[in-house]
């Protein structure tokens, strides 16, 4: 059995077992959740470590496992990693552990909370490990639904119900559009060879590319379906609102990990399988990403609430990934994957810290806070570091990712890259530094004079884990890039259109149409 299967199964099995534990053993629930996510993290770290030495399968996939599931439809449980998702799985499992650590703020209905948290973790990791379109969607949905419930039940603020409503609406619609896209993609192949297996499909399109009409039908479905899930501008409004109301652990897992599902889907499915349509749409993606980077950056400037600020900045960061994808070259796509991983750590860290702050002070309105660094030195230091990482300060993994994206994108979109760099460096720095000033520096309001950090050392663990990850990959991005680059190269090879056939065929069809 592949270690991936264990990584996926442990959280799900633990969730099942927790169903059987009576509800007044809250402590036990928390212990099990922590132990299992820790175990998953250790397994994922081990797999990441062994990745280079592990034997690769015939398609360059490592730790592969394939079990037929619904053979009549060509659905199988097919998991495996290559450079594209090995880092994402590592990031996902680390964030899941950190999120479970941050579950201390939940004081009621712990049983349901930890069950949902574990289901979400298992679902997310399965989605990233999956090499089957059906399993990919199935696992994502398994992780998505707990998000809604968690926001609805343990969420905070008076906007909780509206936030639940909006996030459920947006994300369900996005997921269903993506599902239709995946089904339509599956149906583009002749009935005899239809399968949901991504590896198999990739091999098929190399021999017979999907017809141009088919590509142009499927690609927008996938782009906008996944786009809603990723908070692509202008479908981003759910994100700040939802994260602002979500319990800390949920916001960490969703913003950090689950949101990357759509990006991963675009990289793994849309680009390699639909090269011609990708080619037609990249310019649109490139311009839309400015909506994320510039527009959401400007909106973030105006935020008064810390969680909303982080929410908007996280939406803005998604723009860099889109820019990397739109560049369609090895550097850009490697950078996109790096940003995905780095942003996963960063978003989880930011939301984790803001959740801690919220529970210490009871508010996240920045004009009510101030001078807190004296009272909360650890929290403040960690958050200032996170914000520096968010501005793209060298030394943090985000810098490595963003700069790679800009190098990649410059070759194709000088103007857009120029605007994006300016937006990232100037706007990002302005709102992040302003938030630091408002919360941590300046005079300390009277009512916060008695504030103190928890002396319980364990509380710092999740933040330390995430900070260390950001720094490790910031100083040694090679740990990731040397794994990512070969896979990115493969995607670029598949996504570039030397396959003149569809174009020729389309032209021929046009000519044929012109002649009655």
């Amino acid at each position: 059995m592949s270690p991936l299967t264990y990584i996926i199964l442990w959280p799900l099995v633990a969730a099942l077992l927790l169903c059987l534990v009576p509800r007044n053993y809250g402590f036990l629930m928390r212990l099990v959740a922590l132990a299992v996510t820790l175990l998953t993290m250790i397994l994922a770290v081990k797999m990441f470590w062994q990745y280079d030495s592990a034997p690769a399968g015939p398609n360059g996939i490592k730790f592969e496992q394939l079990v037929p599931w619904v053979s009549s439809l060509g659905i199988s449980y097919h998991v495996g990693v290559d450079g594209l998702n090995v880092g994402l799985i590592l990031m996902g499992s680390i964030v899941a552990f950190a999120a479970a650590c941050c579950g201390w703020e939940i004081r009621n209905r712990e049983k349901e909370f930890y069950i949902l948290l574990l289901v979400m973790t298992g679902g997310i990791l399965a989605a990233f490990a999956s090499l089957d379109l059906f399993l990919f969607y199935f696992a994502h949905e398994l992780a998505l639904v707990p998000t809604f419930i968690m926001i609805g039940v343990w969420g905070r603020g008076e906007n909780k119900n509206y936030a639940t409503f909006q996030i459920t609406l947006y994300l369900s619609v996005g997921a269903l559009i993506a599902l239709i896209g995946l089904i339509a993609l599956y149906l583009q192949f002749p009935a005899a060879i239809r399968t949901f297996d991504v590896v198999e499909l990739t091999k098929q399109v190399q021999k017979n590319p999907i017809s141009l009409h088919g590509q142009n039908l499927v690609f927008p479905l996938l782009l906008f379906g996944f786009g809603i899930l990723i908070s692509l501008w202008p479908f981003h409004t759910w994100a700040p609102l939802g994260y602002g109301s979500a319990p800390t652990a949920t916001a960490m897992l969703h913003a950090g990990v689950l949101k990357k599902f759509g990006l991963y889907g675009l990289l793994r499915i849309a680009l390699p399988l639909l090269p011609q349509a990708t080619h037609n749409w990249v310019n649109v993606i490139a311009w839309l990403c400015l909506g994320n980077i510039l527009y959401c950056g400007l909106v973030a400037l105006r935020q008064k609430n810390l969680n909303w600020l982080i929410g908007y900045s996280s939406v803005a960061h998604m723009g860099f990934v889109f820019l990397g994808i739109a560049s369609l070259n090895v550097i850009g796509i490697s950078g996109a994957v790096l940003v995905m991983i780095a942003h996963g750590f960063l978003a989880a860290l930011s939301f984790g810290l803001s959740g801690y702050l919220y529970h210490t002070t009871g508010t996240l309105e920045m004009n009510k806070l101030g001078g807190l660094l004296r009272k909360l030195p650890f929290l403040g230091t960690a958050m200032i570091m996170a914000m520096f990482a968010g501005c793209g300060l060298p030394g943090f993994a985000n810098f490595a990712g963003e700069v790679t994206v800009f190098f990649g994108a410059w070759q194709k979109y000088q103007l857009i890259t120029g605007i994006a760099v300016w937006a990232a460096l100037v706007i990002g720095a302005v709102y992040m530094l302003r938030a630091i000033r408002d919360i941590w520096h300046g005079p300390l309001p009277e009512k916060w004079a008695a504030l103190a950090e928890s002396s319980w050392p364990f509380r710092k663990v999740p933040y330390l884990v995430l900070l260390v990850s950001l720094l490790v990959f910031g100083f040694f991005p090679r740990l990731l890039t040397e794994k990512i680059t070969p896979s990115a190269q493969k995607i670029v090879d598949l996504a570039t259109v030397p396959t003149a056939t569809p174009v020729v065929a389309a032209k021929a069809a046009l000519v044929a149409e012109a002649k009655p």
Partner: protein
């Protein structure tokens, strides 16, 4: 003439009559236990059905068919009836008198459904539909002292009679234009009659009658009221058995009797499906009565199932069978919980579910799973069913752009339905004002039924392979 083909139906009728006779010698306080006898009897008949082969054979000059599709639905109805009988035993204390008749009527309705599964002739179609509908007139109004129950019975009677009239008129027109009743023979002449307005009118009126059974637009009006007022076991049987009977007849009529007409009616079927999905889902939003909510949800589900019909493909037909299989366990699971929790007709408000997770974790889990499955969320049966239906429709998208509208509306419907299904889940776990926290006793037989429903939902959702193959095989007899 091969009467041995009818062995299952004969056995069910004999069981029903035997029950009525046994009632004469059973002391009053033991009468409710006759339900267990009936359930065991149905179980034995179900076991017997596995000795029959699904090879296509016919009786009564091709009027009665025994094939894979018929056998699939006969087993489907037997499983449904078995669980409904177990529910009725739990319900027995709420029925003042005549509980044995209640059991016997369920068995007679079951007979009607089983005949419907085999109908290959408009005569048998009408007789079986009437057998189902007439027994349901009584079953819906069985709680004679409850006003709502009587109202439900009256509504079902009036609208049922009306739709029967439509149907019989339609059959008359079809017979008038073709001179035949048998589906296979009508199929031979139908291609020449595609332009004949009287013939088309006849087929349309038959569809109206069948639309009533499945609660499709525009003859869906009765469903919420009748679902709300009827005793819970009746509602469950109506929701699962009667709807499935409507669908098997619809499949046979559309694809075996008048395939030539059906091919022209793609857009009509798509439009009906769209309106049914929208109507069911939109109207379900404000509902507070759980049975009424499930009534609207059943309309919405009829709309989803019609997607499979509108797809006009083997994939669509097979998806219908699969979806019905998942629907059986899901809806029956939900109704068992309703039957046990909502003991008063007046107290069927969703708020009555408050604190259910403390009163009975088993029932709370079952109802939650049922709602999650109906909402179409993995890993339960409802998700895979919707997946198959959507796949069947998307597959045909290239032939008619209206299919894409259908897909869009289906997505819209699924998103809306999340709201009201999760409203039920929310009421179970997160209500603040739970007043009654007394534990709910669950007897052993009903526990078995609950476990069967939960296992069915999970099995069909996680290991759909066997069921998909079974459904594929069963629809092989449909000619289009």
């Amino acid at each position: 003439m091969n009467y041995s083909l009818l062995v299952l139906e004969i056995a069910v009728v004999v069981l029903g009559l035997g029950l009525l006779l046994a009632d004469l010698w059973t002391p009053v306080e033991k009468k409710r236990n006759l339900g267990y006898v009936a359930a065991v009897g149905v179980g034995l008949i179900l076991a017997w059905s596995f000795k029959l082969s699904g090879e296509a054979q016919s009786a009564f000059h091709g009027m009665y068919l025994m094939d894979g599709l018929a056998l699939f639905f006969k087993r489907f109805f037997l499983v449904t009836a078995m669980i409904v009988l177990l529910m009725s035993v739990e319900f027995a204390d709420r029925i003042e008198a005549g509980i044995s008749e209640f059991y016997a009527l369920i068995l007679f309705a079951l007979t009607g459904m089983m005949f419907a599964a085999s109908a290959n002739d408009f005569t048998l179609l009408f007789v079986s539909v009437e057998l189902i509908t007439v027994t349901f007139y009584v079953l819906t109004s069985f709680q004679r002292s409850k006003l709502l129950s009587l109202e439900a019975g009256a509504k079902y009677l009036i609208l049922g009679a009306l739709s029967s009239a439509f149907m019989v008129y339609g059959i008359a027109l079809v017979f008038g234009t073709t001179g035949r009743m048998n589906f296979d023979q009508i199929a031979l002449v139908a291609p020449q009659l595609v332009g004949d307005k009287i013939f088309l009118m006849g087929v349309l009126l038959v569809l109206v009658g069948l639309g009533f059974k499945i609660a499709a637009f525009p003859v869906q009006m009765w469903a919420p009221d009748v679902y709300q007022g009827s005793p819970a076991p009746t509602t469950a049987f109506l929701a699962v058995g009667s709807k499935a009977a409507g669908f098997v007849l619809l499949l046979r009529v559309l694809f075996n009797a008048v395939p030539a007409v059906t091919a022209h009616w793609t857009t009509l079927l798509i439009v009906i499906s769209i309106i049914t999905i929208l109507y069911g889902n939109l109207c379900a939003i404000p509902q507070r009565n759980l049975k009424r909510l499930l009534g609207y949800s059943s309309i919405a589900n009829a709309g989803y199932l019609l997607m499979g019909v509108a797809a006009m493909s083997v994939a669509g037909q097979s998806a219908i069978l699969y979806y019905l299989g998942g629907y059986l366990f899901t809806v029956l699971g939900a109704f068992i919980v309703i039957c046990l929790v909502m003991t008063k007709v007046e107290g069927e408000d969703i708020s009555a579910l408050a604190g259910l997770n403390q009163r009975s974790p088993l029932l709370a889990t079952t109802l939650t799973l049922a709602m999650v499955s109906l909402a179409g969320i993995p890993p339960l049966a409802g998700f895979f069913g919707k997946f198959l239906l959507l796949k069947a429709v998307v597959e045909k998208g290239a032939t008619n752009p209206a299919y894409y509208w259908l897909v869009a509306v289906a997505i819209f419907g699924v998103v809306i339905s999340l709201y009201y299904y999760f409203g039920v889940v929310r009421a179970i776990y997160w209500s603040k004002d739970a007043t009654d926290l007394s534990p709910i006793p669950v007897s052993l037989p009903i526990k078995v039924a609950i476990y069967a429903c939960v296992a069915g939902m999970l099995y069909l959702g996680l290991y759909p392979n066997a069921a998909v193959n079974l459904a594929d095989k069963a629809v092989a007899v449909l000619k289009m």
